[in-house]
Symmetry: none
Subunit: 503 residues, 2 copies
């Protein structure tokens, strides 16, 4: 490589998230000699570190001909400093893209192909376009059982894997779709209070207004690395950690960032995402909550059967014990939808406040009871009452506080600056709640980006309504977000009030 | 909308191709009040024009808090000027994305859904991720016949459609892949000389060293709008116009730019792309040239059969008469590769010069003969001799000159300032020509940006070679470009000379 192939880095400070972009000048001699154009994929090398990036061409007022810049994520990945010299060359051909195209064309992928694809995704070698195409190709039931097993294995292999050196290691997961179903913090508190080891890693929201990590972040620090997580678990038996900082199944996070704008879910991706995280986190016993209901993620028993069978088969192939519990998914759980609003509900249940949402409490007790039996702590049939005892005695709340203290301290979640109640325009009863629209309203109001934003529900299905009574309250930090949620609501009501008079 | 929601445009000059990007400062008050983050999709309004763009957040050294910038394509789309004020709001929900997801999940799309998707693509409302997912969902034979018919119709509907008020209107198209296969100007000249109406629209190069529009631009003006095109066709019966200025099937160009980096071809997309342009241009009779060969786009007769059947069925559904002609796709056509070099070949054939490339002449005569029969000008079997008569008599050349005069005048294409022959380093025969590498060399030499640049071939497959004999000549305008082409050639020969002695 001759010296004139080197280009000097100048910071511009442009944030393109996970997509690596290199900014080059139109008249740059390397662009001309290499035939680079806008969007050409290139390999950028700095002191032995390499990334693949897409070119954005810029005018002479931003960069000199011998200068280049990198988007923020690319700059961090290369550990670059202003004035460093990089080499920019044509990106090597990615063999795994042929496998991806083969999948698009309807062929199945073997373990080697999936390892190659997932490895390239994890290494940042796929553009967002490639990831989008891969996800679309795998969605809609186009991955068979063995492909799903191999995808799960590939996602474990590319990341770190924790060995706790003991068993059982308890874990739980809810296959989303039910707004406000924030049982995890309560279940962990009960399980750990019972003496189980439950090192819980959680994700942030993908398409929902809040993930467990978003909720727990309003209460304590969740950005722990593996050594810090180990210290917490050794001391108190459990933890609440954001999985994204741990490099457990790192490809999953990159895939999820593209699934989100596409609003894509597929059984294979769900199973691989859920189980790869559990396996990488060292779980031996995983309890999976599948809410089933007309507006939940899983809408019918038939869909639940399919997903359950796939979860069980893939878990078994990887030596993970797995139990599935189906729950009702007909309406939201608790009162709050959004990180801080859900945290308030969780605290109310743990503290045993009289006004605590009973549905959230009952769901958490059912799951915790099942987990206690599954992990051999309680005899069959005795789990629920043991869980209830641990919650009502305050043992779970004490454990919860101990975990949060070990993670850096427990804090009270905030309250949004702007709150506006939406009132009933007629008398009657609540006849339907559309979970998807409710989630959308909470997101438009700012959740989870604004942790205090979301929707506070005042009514459950079947509740009687007087005209002018508040149905729910919108919580937002920014006027624009409040206005956007209201604009959407004007044409997309999520709560239906049926007149009392039979039609 | 209050005044403080307005943000001042400052040019940065960043080319992100078709993806509309808005650059906003981290501390911008609109970002903060609206809850915008990197990659949020927003609607940008300027004097009643609206686009949907993705946010890239930038540091304070690039933009002041009340300033924003736009990528080059977004800037042009809004017809923006430095200092203009734009409004930036949350992008509206796109209902067509639900249809797109439904396709990903394996359901078929009806005409209304396809109209909605293609309409949103054409309006720039889809991000590149959405387009990539849509393309992947439709590839691999997942579009049935009716969907392909409806996709084609949708692509016509979103653009302009020309009605010539008469029939037949002749058209031709080549399903790409062969460098130098520039038959179109000759076929049009012959067909129009025979009295047919042939208002030809063509594209510029996408990944190749020259498109028909690039070649014709070295001979006359091709940037005509629809009224100008009409005047030319009414006067002389045909034209050579760059389709990009006409807004015929505008979604096609946007889809093609994403298909390219994904390296995705699907029959449905090819057929919809080709036929939507023809239908929008008002053609009644379309002749399709499908070169079949190991380095052409269509590699086997089986692939050609499938493509041909689909072209015929979709054309029939739209009332377009269509005939397919398969040709050999084993090696480049003519001598020149690059806009002016190919124009010289075209002129030599039209002028009947003894040294005119015989392969180009023969391919043009075969296609023109077929077209004359297809449009009812010649009886079956008599087309080729009629085409030959029109070419050899000089009638086609006279017609060609008349068309160019009507478009603003015929000019002689230029000749590159720098020419350098590459000599054989051994005796033998030409045993292989790699079309892909040949195209790359022509592009590195400057084609199509420098119209006179490219490669002039002196030999065909099988030709005997003496040591020291010129194999081909590089044409370039700039010493740097000549050097880039030579540097690439040093490690990527495109013409293989096999020794005469059997190995």
């Amino acid at each position: 490589m001759t010296d004139d192939a080197r280009l000097r880095l100048r910071p511009l400070g442009i944030d393109t998230q996970q997509e690596f972009v290199i900014y080059m000048q139109h008249d740059c001699h390397v662009c001309r000699s290499e035939g680079f154009e806008a969007q050409t994929r290139v390999e950028v090398t700095l002191r032995g570190r390499r990334i693949i990036a897409s070119i954005n061409l810029v005018d002479a007022n931003l960069l000199a001909p011998e200068e280049v810049s990198l988007s923020t994520s690319a700059w961090l990945k290369l550990d670059a400093a202003a004035g460093d010299f990089v080499i920019v060359e044509h990106a090597p051909t990615l063999d795994s893209l042929s496998a991806m195209r083969s999948k698009i064309y309807g062929n199945r992928l073997d373990a080697a192909a999936l390892n190659a694809i997932v490895g390239d995704v994890a290494a940042g070698r796929y553009s967002e376009l490639h990831i989008a195409a891969f996800l679309a190709a795998c969605a809609g039931g186009r991955m068979d059982l063995q492909e799903t097993i191999d995808l799960t294995g590939a996602m474990v292999v590319v990341g770190e894997r924790i060995d706790w050196g003991r068993a059982p290691i308890a874990d739980k997961h809810c296959v989303g779709g039910l707004p406000g179903n924030r049982t995890t913090p309560i279940v962990v508190a009960i399980a750990v209070a019972a003496g189980l080891t439950m090192p819980k890693t959680s994700s942030r929201a993908i398409t929902s207004p809040a993930g467990t990590a978003d909720v727990m972040e309003t209460l304590t620090c969740v950005d722990l690395d593996v050594p810090a997580m180990r210290r917490v678990v050794e001391r108190v038996g459990g933890c609440f950690v954001w999985g994204g900082a741990l490099s457990l199944s790192p490809a999953d996070d990159l895939l999820i960032r593209i699934e989100r704008p596409l609003d894509l879910d597929s059984d294979a991706q769900i199973v691989a995402s859920v189980l790869s995280k559990k396996i990488a986190a060292g779980a031996t016993h995983a309890l999976i909550d599948i809410p089933v209901g007309p507006t939940a993620k899983v809408r019918s028993d038939q869909d639940a059967d399919r997903l359950q069978a796939l979860l069980e088969q893939v878990a078994a192939a990887h030596g993970l014990q797995l139990r599935v519990l189906r729950t009702h998914g007909s309406q939201p759980v608790g009162r709050g939808i959004g990180p801080a609003l859900e945290a308030h509900d969780v605290l109310a249940v743990l503290r045993g406040v009289a006004a605590a949402p009973e549905d959230l409490r009952m769901r958490a007790l059912v799951l915790a009871g099942e987990l206690l039996e599954f992990c051999g702590h309680s005899t069959p049939g005795a789990g629920r009452s043991e869980a209830t005892r641990l919650l009502d005695s305050g043992a779970a709340w004490t454990t919860f506080q101990a975990i949060c203290e070990a993670q850096g301290g427990l804090r009270e979640p905030g309250v949004a600056r702007l709150r506006e109640a939406v009132l009933a325009d007629r008398a009657g009863h609540v006849s339907a709640i559309d979970n998807r629209r409710l989630s959308r309203v909470a997101k438009l109001a700012g959740a989870p980006g604004s942790p205090t934003a979301g929707v506070e529900l005042h009514l459950k299905l079947g509740d009687r309504v007087q005209r002018g009574m508040p149905l729910f309250t919108l919580h937002a930090q920014a006027p624009g977000e409040l206005a956007y949620a209201k604009r959407y609501l004007a044409t997309h009501a999520f709560m239906t009030v049926a007149s009392e008079v039979p039609q």
